[in-house]
């Protein structure tokens, strides 16, 4: 059956089109995406008549002078044919109709719609409608059978249903097709067709075949297929005679079968391979007109032989509708030309069109839509995409690591099941939104906002300051195409990547400069691109693609240059600190492997964190990096976890907030713009359904609270613990600031200490209530000494004598440590985690110590109900206490304390600076204290151990007496009363007398203090004898040596020892200033005492103290 394929001609704008013949076969009628119905006299008709039926026409059917079209205004309308006069609206849907078809007599029209309904309407009376409900997705096509009894329809829900029209019920339903959500997504239009004349068969295109079903029995009686048809068949049409079936497919194949013998008579290929979306037989059966999704019209002629055998023209109509429907749908695929028209109208087009619009405009400006996509995909994808673009300079590494994501190293290793390398995240500026947006934030930080605009009208940068007092807002034209920016109180730093001709540039607007040249610009060397930049106080830093970090002064002087270990991800500056995060290695399984460096660029240049790994949540990437307003490094990962540097715990990172916890929906995020430690505020912008905010409407900052991820924070205990540790963490910056020489807010610090102490006390009370005494003791160890005193009182009042006693020991230790640690920067002690912080402030801020100490004392006084009285009492107690221990100095238990004494030596120099004479003896006392305590506590186990380690505590006068007393009491009971006992007992009994008591008590400690700070007799002795000891016991370590030495020293005769102490005294005396002399005097006294009866007297003193204290305790009760 040879036929002639006429050349295609342009019919409509691209998109879905439909075609049919009129009843006589004189005209070819087409409709298309442009909303016109064209009436062609022949294929060569250069001036076809046209009828505009709407903004788009989805389908048409023509019979008996009635032209029925489905247009984009959701109606099915009639026009007269060929005049094209509107003849009313046949029916309406809630969305556009997808296919219309006449029955064989032309009395009824069936229409299927995207609103899942099929309607059958009388043409003469449109009020007579039958609605067929049952599809669960947009209807693809409809077809009447020849007797009007049935109607077949196909739908996107995958079903083909044959309806009994009268009953409006499905006669049968087959799940034949693939499910899709919309006509535009359907692979095939599935334009099914009933056989016209005989009406025995229903042809349904299913994938690349056509299924034939027998009417009534609805049995599958045959399948038509052809090897040429490799893609889904879109449309089938019966020849008017009902013998031949033509099919058009996606990809432009056309085939004609003889239905009776299922032979393929004709195969044709669309000349350009466009998808055929409509077919129509000429009423004579000699021609087939077809249209494609590009809006072209074609004709197959010369099917005469086949069709001549066919019957008359009656069959044409059936074919036509079928074709029409096809046209409708394909419009979706194309149609950019028509988008303008399309806007408000057809749902389909609108959907397609708007999507594109959004892509073009909305997204770039707001970033919303794209965000959403990214979120859904997965976090990494966001960066993954851009990485590929951004990291080209990293050539091979980057390339290879990126490539696997898209196409895993299949060529190299066909099967690789191991972990996939993660595409390394791209460099970014903290507080910026992605660079591909036309309107974006280049920086949002605590100083202000830098916005970048890059659209047709304008390429500009807006700088705006939160505080207009810093500087007025600026508007710069961005002729260089800056993509990075940072903002500080002094300057705006901008940088652009290099292009082929232009080098990467760094521009700084130094608005705080006092001369008239407010800006400078630097070209980076060719081939080197700025990747990240930041501003600090007086300096600017740029990380470049050649893994260099360049420092500039804010005025433009080039400073240090150094290499970073990997491609920089992000940098942040604050004051003199520079924080750099870079790729340490390739991450696997979605994780990033980032390293972090923290440098101090100020007067003392050094590296505080040397390239350690930056902890991130699993499968997340870094999303913000910066400093708190107080200067603590801080960062946020894409899981919304905020981590802050804990300087007091060896520069570890502590999660302080999980922003995702407060998000209402999964796609909501918080975009962090700043962190403040005091008050504790996480400043961020809530973004609904995206990761970052649009520039308009202007987002508002919200404040989130911090919360450490401690367990059981719903319980009172957990809550208080969280509060306590949070308070500790968020006030540790005081220590850092003062140690680096900044002013600190004393009031805030005092406040925070008070808060911490209160929390500790509360926790203590809670544990007491719960009968957890061991826990109480643990808590007490966290307390500064004055609070321990309170705790003791609480314990003794609640009649927990055992607890009180143990607390007493702790108080003693603390007192001793206090004194010992005094030489060190007291500021550390105040921070509350003394032991950990000891190293950092080592000896630096000493001058500041005294005022602070005294202040603190005052504060404590205020806190205490008993006020000064109690305090003085305590001091006296402490001094007393120290005496006994001083004597014990020779006892064998001393190891640790001596170690400490040794340590304190370096500070001898500093000692004179200390005004408080008391501290001197206190210090001695602590050594001894700790000795005793360790001795005592040995049986007690846990507390003993802690005692030995002895955290540094506040420099306050020891408060803990009460407990001390009780413990001491025990000891004293064993010991014989001394001359001092009565003396000390008196003061204890009567607080007023304490000062007196203190006087005698004081001297001995003073002496000790002197010994120690200068050197004790023992130390002198040790120095001389160390070698001997070492020789005797070569395998001893330091503490053992000291132990041994003590033992030996003790075995010396009293005279010998005295002589040693005297020597020691003599030494100090030389160097002594007034204060020292004072101490020395005391020491002399003590010495005498010591010489008289060393160990015993010590014990006695202990007794004294304890008895005093016990008396005091008794009074209290």
């Amino acid at each position: 059956m040879p036929c002639e394929r006429k050349p295609m001609r342009y019919g409509h704008s691209e998109g879905h089109t439909e075609v049919c013949f009129d009843d006589t076969g004189r005209y070819i009628v087409t409709c298309g995406n442009d909303g016109d119905v064209r009436i062609w006299e022949s294929l060569d008709d250069d001036d076809p008549k046209f009828i505009t039926v709407g903004e788009k026409a989805y389908s048409l059917a023509l019979k008996k002078g009635k032209l029925v079209t489905a247009s984009s205004n959701n109606t099915v309308q009639i026009h007269t044919f060929p005049d094209g006069e509107p003849d009313g609206i046949l029916t309406r849907f809630t969305t556009n109709a997808t296919h219309v078809a006449f029955n064989s007599s032309g009395s009824r029209v069936a229409a299927g719609s995207s609103d899942f309904m099929v309607k059958v309407v009388e043409v003469s009376d449109s009020s007579q409608q039958k609605t067929l409900r049952g599809h669960e997705a947009p209807v693809l096509s409809v077809s009447f059978d020849s007797t009007d009894e049935f109607l077949a329809s196909a739908s996107c829900d995958g079903s083909v249903i044959v309806w009994n029209i009268e009953e409006q019920t499905p006669a049968i339903s087959w799940p034949l097709l693939q499910k899709t959500s919309d006509v535009s997504n359907a692979k095939s239009l599935c334009r099914l067709a009933f056989q016209p004349a005989a009406g025995k068969l229903l042809a349904v295109p299913v994938e690349t075949r056509v299924h034939l079903y027998e009417r009534r029995s609805w049995e599958h009686v045959g399948t038509l297929s052809d090897e040429l048809l490799t893609q889904p068949i879109n449309v089938v049409a019966w020849s008017p005679c009902g013998r031949f079936l033509a099919a058009g497919s996606v990809g432009g194949s056309l085939a004609v079968w003889d239905a009776s013998n299922k032979l393929c008579l004709e195969r044709q290929k669309h000349e350009k391979g466009f998808t055929v979306c409509s077919l129509a037989w000429h009423p004579s059966g000699s021609q087939i007109a077809y249209t494609d999704t590009e809006g072209c019209l074609g004709l197959l002629d010369g099917l005469g032989t086949a069709s001549s055998s066919g019957t008359g023209s009656t069959k044409a109509p059936a074919a036509k509708p079928a074709k029409d429907y096809d046209d409708l749908f394909d419009e979706d695929d194309g149609g950019p030309m028509d988008e303008g028209l399309a806007d408000g109208n057809s749902a389909k087009e609108a959907a397609a069109g708007e999507d594109e619009d959004e892509d073009d405009f909305l997204i770039p400006s707001t970033g919303r839509v794209r965000n959403r996509g990214a979120i859904l995909d997965d976090d990494v994808s966001l960066d993954g995409g851009s990485l590929k673009l951004g990291r080209d300079d990293d050539d091979d590494d980057a390339g290879s690591s990126v490539a696997p994501a898209a196409a895993p190293p299949a060529p190299l290793r066909p099967v690789y099941d191991g972990p996939e390398p993660t595409p390394p995240q791209k460099a970014f500026q903290p507080g910026s939104t992605p660079a591909h947006l036309t309107h974006r934030f280049m920086v949002w930080n605590s100083v202000g906002i830098v916005r970048g605009y890059n659209d047709e009208q304008d390429n500009a940068v807006d700088v705006e300051f939160h505080d207009t007092a810093v500087h007025h807002a600026m508007h710069l034209t961005n002729s260089l195409g800056h993509t990075m920016a940072d903002l500080s109180q002094e300057a705006v730093l901008l940088a652009c990547p290099g292009t082929d001709e232009l080098a990467s540039k760094l521009q700084c607007l130094h608005f705080s400069s006092w001369d008239t040249n407010k800006d400078w610009m630097v070209d980076l060397p060719p081939g080197e691109d700025a990747k990240a930049l930041c501003l600090g106080q007086g300096w600017a830093a740029v990380a470049t693609s050649s893994l260099l970090l360049r420092l500039f002064s804010v005025g433009g002087v080039q400073r240090e240059v150094f290499s970073v270990p990997g491609p920089v991800v992000c940098m942040a500056g604050h004051g003199e600190q520079l924080l750099v995060v870079y790729h340490r290695a390739t991450g696997f399984g979605g994780d990033q492997a980032l390293g972090v460096q923290l440098l101090q660029l100020g007067g003392r240049k050094r590296q505080l964190i040397t390239g350690e790994a930056l902890p991130l949540s699993p499968r997340s990437y870094l999303s913000w990096l910066g400093f708190t307003a107080e200067g603590t490094p801080c960062y946020v990962d894409s899981d919304g976890l905020v981590r802050m540097l804990n300087r007091s715990l060896g520069n570890t990172w502590t999660p302080v907030c999980n922003t995702r916890e407060t998000c209402k929906s999964k796609s909501d995020h918080y975009w962090v713009v700043g962190v403040h430690e005091n008050p504790q505020q996480l400043r961020c912008i809530p973004c609904k359904g995206s990761r970052y905010p649009p520039t308009l409407p202007r987002p508002a900052v919200a404040i989130l609270p911090f919360k450490l991820p401690l367990c059981q924070t719903s319980t009172e205990k957990g809550q208080m613990e969280e509060q306590y540790w949070r308070s500790v963490l968020f006030h540790s910056h005081h220590g850092f600031l003062s140690s680096s020489g900044y002013e600190i807010d004393e009031a805030a610090r005092a406040q925070s200490e008070k808060e911490q102490q209160e929390l500790l006390m509360k926790m203590f009370a809670l544990s007491c209530k719960l009968e957890r005494e061991f826990r109480c003791v643990e808590l007490a160890e966290l307390m500064p000494q004055n609070v321990v005193a309170l705790a003791i009182r609480y314990a003794s009042r609640s009649r927990r004598m055992n607890l009180a006693q143990r607390l007493g020991e702790i108080a003693l230790e603390k007192a001793s440590q206090l004194q010992e640690d005094e030489p060190w920067g007291p500021e550390e002690e105040e921070a509350g985690v003394p032991s950990a912080r000891r190293t950092s402030g080592y000896g630096r801020a000493e001058p500041a110590a005294d005022p602070r100490r005294s202040r603190e004392e005052e504060e404590e006084d205020g806190e205490e109900e008993d006020g000064g009285e109690l305090e003085s009492e305590e001091t006296t107690d402490a001094t007393k206490r120290s005496n006994p221990f001083a004597k014990e100095g020779g006892s064998p238990v001393t190891p640790t304390p001596i170690g400490k004494a040794g340590r304190s030596n370096p500070f001898k120099v500093a000692a004179p600076g200390k005004p408080a004479p008391a501290s001197g003896h206190l210090r001695v006392a602590n050594i001894l204290d700790s000795m005793t305590s360790s001795r005592k506590s040995a049986p007690l186990g846990g507390s003993a151990a802690t005692a030995g380690k002895g955290p540094v505590l506040k420099p306050l006068a020891p408060r803990a007496k009460t407990k001390a007393q009780s413990t001491l009491l025990q000891i004293s009971s064993n010991k014989t009363a001394n001359k001092k006992t009565p003396e000390s007992a008196e003061p204890a009994a009567e607080p007023q007398q304490q000062p007196d008591a203190a006087a005698p008590a004081l001297p001995p400690p003073a002496e000790n203090g002197e010994n120690k700070r200068p050197k004790t007799g023992f130390q002198l002795w040790l120095e001389e004898n160390r070698k001997i000891i070492m020789a005797d016991n070569p395998d001893l370590d330091e503490t053992d040596v000291i132990k041994e030495a003590m033992g030996r020293f003790r075995t010396l005769s009293a005279d010998e020892r005295r002589s040693w102490t005297e020597r020691a005294k003599g030494q100090t005396g030389d160097a002594a200033d007034v204060r020292k002399r004072k101490r020395a005097d005391g020491g002399a006294e003590d010495e005498t005492a010591e010489s008289d009866s060393e160990s015993s007297s010590r014990k006695k003193k202990a007794l004294d103290a304890s008895s005093k204290l016990s008396a005091f305790a008794f009074n209290k009760n």
Partner: protein, 186 residues
Amino acid sequence: MDPSEVEFLAEKEFVKIIPNFSLDKIYLIGGDLGPFNPGLPVDVPVWLALNLKQRQKCRILPPEWMDVEKLEAMRELERREEAFAPAPSPYYMELTKLLLNHASDNIPKADEIRTLVKDIWDTRIAKLRLSADSFIRQQEAHAQLDNLTLMEINTIRQFLLDSLNCMYKLRSNRQPASAKSRLADY
């Protein structure tokens, strides 16, 4: 009470602003305000917000209800309900006027909001007139009017009270008159 007085009262309502200056807490008789941190939202009374705005010291964040979608929903509710629906804010009219007049640049879709609020206002006033009408017509002694704002009450108070007064006089005149006439008959 005239409208300006009502407006004065409305100025005590709190509104969020984003200051562009830094200031410690300020202590006023009516309460403490601040502290003001540049870039951080803070609650201040409308009078202060407007003052700062006029001096270009802040941006005003529109109150939560001043949002096109919410107002549309409210308008629908207002139209549907027979009685008065709860007003978006007890001073919605005054606040809208104040904020839109002085800070329309800080309020997205200011024009739509103005129209919507006006619609709501009109609907409510129409209801109010209607109920006043039926109140008088049926000679009721009392009527319950929930959810009326001060401004709305004030728009009708003067007129309603005066006219009720008037009618009362007329009525009471008539009765005594009839009594008189009765007297006269005697």
